[in-house]
Amino acid sequence: MTRRISAAAAASAVAAALAAGCLSIPPYQPKNGVTRSEDATGTRVTGPGFALHFAGGDGFHFPDALTIDGHDVMGHESSPACFGQDGTGVLIYPTPRISPTGTAPAVRNQLTAVLTGPAVVKMQLDWTTQLACSRGRAPGGTSTFTVFPDGRILRNETFDDPKPDDNVTANGCACNDSGKNQGFTVSSYWTFARAAFQDQFYYTDQLTLPLPAATDSDVTNFDPVCLDGGDYQIASTWITGLPGDTTAIRGGIAVFGHLMVKEIGASRLDIPWTTSSTLTIDHDGCQTAFRRANRYAHPPMLKVNGQDTAAASRDGIYGGDADGSGLHGITLATDHVELTADKAVPTGFAVALRFPRSITTVRATLAGATGEWYVPQRVTSTTWIVWFPAPLEPGQTIAIEPAT
């Protein structure tokens, strides 16, 4: 009997120890949030009904798959030219493509999760390559992809070159003879799989055009486009273009590209450059997608304790990263914050707040709002991001304060 009791006691102790391991506090993970996970092939950012996958391996860690309702809609050519578009990446034409499948050498290729959800996931890729025509030239840049739970992906690119005065020629740098005699251009691009969408695209919310032929040549001035896959739609908008920058579409064999292009010239490679784009994923047709894309392209001011606050161009977050120095949050003098708007703030917006003291959790209140109407995310003990899936209409007031 004694042995039985001893065995039972030992079993109880083991069970208690096992049970103790199962009783950790799970992190807050809302149904309509975004998450980041690592796997053998790279990093996946997952939101409700979609996932953006960043390539691992030796290639540049740009996104190599965009899955909507289980369909990968990102474009991939079976044998793209060395400077041809494929997947997602950047081009310093006519040098090799800088993308997961490109042949440009990766001097630096660092993918970092700056924000990890559940309100916002922000992935930052710091990359540097080396020109084969001039080993001293090592252009690089930073690409950020800010993913929101409502299927909005805000992309920001900055390009730079530490030695812009070391002259090179486009012909000397061309990785393919077909790229000669056309000068340097720099572009940031998305490609989408033709097979995943209809044969036409929306130029406005009413006008449709056939997808361009597979000429691999740019057709310029298409700021927003929308592709309709039937059950899902993607609207792509290039938001900020400096003078001389041009948006374009480009038809490939299997892909449809939407890109922002900066033409530089034949003998100079002067590439300090910044551009941004937004993808919005929808399921209610391209009209809705266009409306959302336009709202995000020109977001209205948000009043934070009565002060107008703009959405940061680099990540689309109110109080976010406006100049590349990082997310600081809107500095608050008191714990209590009120959000109001003179014009409706679009469906799905995030605000970053920096409280005057460390807090453990926040509480938001809005008259009549129930359920999962806001999603907070701790960045630091004082800085929090709060995501609101619904728009903020004029006359409404959202109050945010630390919760006890």
């Binding site: 004694t2 009791i5 001893s6 006691a9 109880s12 102790a13 208690a16 049970a19 103790a20 199962c22 009783l23 506090i25 799970p26 807050y28 993970q29 809302p30 149904k31 959790t361 509480r363 938001a364 129930t370 359920g371 999962e372 109407w373 806001y374 999603v375 907070p376 919760a403």
Partner: protein, 264 residues
């Protein structure tokens, strides 16, 4: 009187060793050869000497040796006399009775009868006293046995009581641990809600509840486990004089140590 009696017996014995007198045992004496008679006389005289020096045990031995050679009954009387002098009434009585059986009309038969009459009640009293002593010893032995049995019974009852108490404590600890498991289940359900929250407000409100439930579950587990361990120790040490492990605990530098020893 003693001197007289010994002298009388000595005279009879000497007569037996030196002449073919007509004692009751004349037929026996007639068969004794002279050398044996001489040796018997020697033992007799030696016995007499010892007797006179009050060395009665040696005297008895010499008288017995002389009797074995001569079969002279008066020697048995002398042996009885020696025992009597040494306050050994029972062998003395036996010797006198044997003398009377051998020589009912012997020279000291009357004296032997007197001694038998005197010693018989004494021996009877001694036998009675011995029997009483034996009875008392047996009673004492029985009492000691009963006391030992009672002590063992009390010890068994105390051990059984401790085992019972230990078992109750262990069962109580088990009940507390079960309560901990129940609270654990409640905490699990709360945790399910935390994993699939309806809203952040619900998550935030459930979080402290979960912490409390989890900590209560841990506390109940700890209390239950301690009670089970305590009950086990009490139950196991209750029978340590018979079987099972002996547990002992002691504080040592930097903590505590528990020792388990098996007694069999």
């Amino acid at each position: 009187m003693t001197t007289r009696r010994v002298a009388l017996v000595a005279a009879a014995a000497l007569a037996a060793f030196t002449a073919s007198a007509t004692f009751g045992a004349a037929q026996v004496k007639a068969q004794i050869d002279p050398s044996t008679r001489t040796l018997a006389a020697s033992h007799f005289r030696q016995g007499q000497a010892y007797f006179q020096h009050e060395d009665y045990d040696r005297a008895i031995a010499e008288y017995q040796a002389a009797f074995d050679l001569s079969a002279e009954p008066s020697l048995i009387f002398n042996i009885g006399l020696c025992h009597d002098r040494m306050n050994r009434p029972e062998p003395a009585l036996q010797a006198f009775q044997r003398y009377l059986a051998l020589a009912p009309g012997g020279s000291v038969a009357d004296e032997a009868r007197n001694d038998v009459a005197r010693l018989t009640p004494v021996v009877a009293r001694l036998a009675a006293e011995r029997a009483a002593g034996e009875a008392r010893r047996r009673e004492d032995e029985a009492r000691r046995r009963d006391a030992a049995a009672a002590a063992a019974r009390r010890q068994d009852e105390a051990a059984a009581r401790r085992v019972r108490v230990g078992r109750y404590i262990a069962i109580g600890g088990g009940a507390v641990a079960v309560a901990g498991a129940a609270m654990h289940l409640v905490a699990f359900r709360t945790r399910d809600r935390l994993e699939n929250p309806e809203s952040y407000d619900a998550y935030r409100d459930d979080k402290p509840s979960f912490r409390i439930q989890r900590n209560v579950a841990y506390g109940l587990y700890a209390a239950g486990g301690a009670a089970i361990a305590t009950g086990l120790i009490i139950a196991l040490t209750a029978n340590h004089h018979r079987e099972g492990p002996q547990l002992s605990a002691a504080l040592v530098p930097g903590g505590a140590a528990m020792v388990v020893e098996w007694s069999r």
